[in-house]
Subunit: 127 residues, 2 copies
Amino acid sequence: MLRGMKLGKRELDGKIETLLLAVLAEGPGHGYGLVQKLNERSAGLLSLGEGTVYPVLHRMEEQGLLTAAWRTGDTGRQRKVYRLSPKGRRRLNTQRQQWAGLVSVMDKIVGPVAEGDSPLNPRGATA
Amino acid sequence: MLRGMKLGKRELDGKIETLLLAVLAEGPGHGYGLVQKLNERSAGLLSLGEGTVYPVLHRMEEQGLLTAAWRTGDTGRQRKVYRLSPKGRRRLNTQRQQWAGLVSVMDKIVGPVAEGDSPLNPRGATA
DNA sequence: CCATGAAGCCTTGCAGTTCGAGGCATGAGG
DNA sequence: CCTCATGCCTCGAACTGCAAGGCTTCATGG
């Protein structure tokens, strides 16, 4: 099977924050779990390491987008559970708009992304 | 008219190369003109400076994606005219795929960009 | 003649981001 | 005891956009 190409190294630049905000908007979560959730949902296109995500979470907490609390999970293990703050929710909105803006620009200049033209389903691979 | 918010500072990260490839795929052009073309076509969302674009062009030329030639334009002025190389054309393809991949990931996790939800046409502004 | 502004090109330094490598601790299962 | 998965963290390298600044030529107006 023609494996979908992974995203380029810097393809994600600036988007990880948005992704985290979106996932946390569905409910609280801890770092390690968030990494897995993102990687799984991306259907193989993403393979983030923890070393990539943790600094982002710290930055976001520092900016007041997130609140963190230590919780003892089901396993009796200590986890740092992050929760979206009101400010974070607002940020998610503006991030969504900026993303829409980028899509708009790319559509105009690079051309729209055709249906079924994603790496998951490249043209000519399906017959 | 309700002006659409400009893109965030780093929103473009990594995409300028793609934009340039796409524009040059339509025909050769020189730096200064390319900057204007991009800014105009973006309908106000982009406002790139030359200091941003020139280094990218140099990098791309160095990588063999572009070929450059000094030409005397209509005004009798010297211009450095860039032209897409075969390698550049291939790169454009992979860039398009990666972009499609990113769109796919963002769709899955952040949610799809609704029609007319771009900063150019925000919801609730159109009647 | 001189000033101004637009067309054109360029470089340098700063700041922000991802990523890989690496390190530390706990609990479960062999 | 050892190893693997969970779970957290930090550091340095590499890349990128951006602002600021500088250079030259041509056309226009005073």
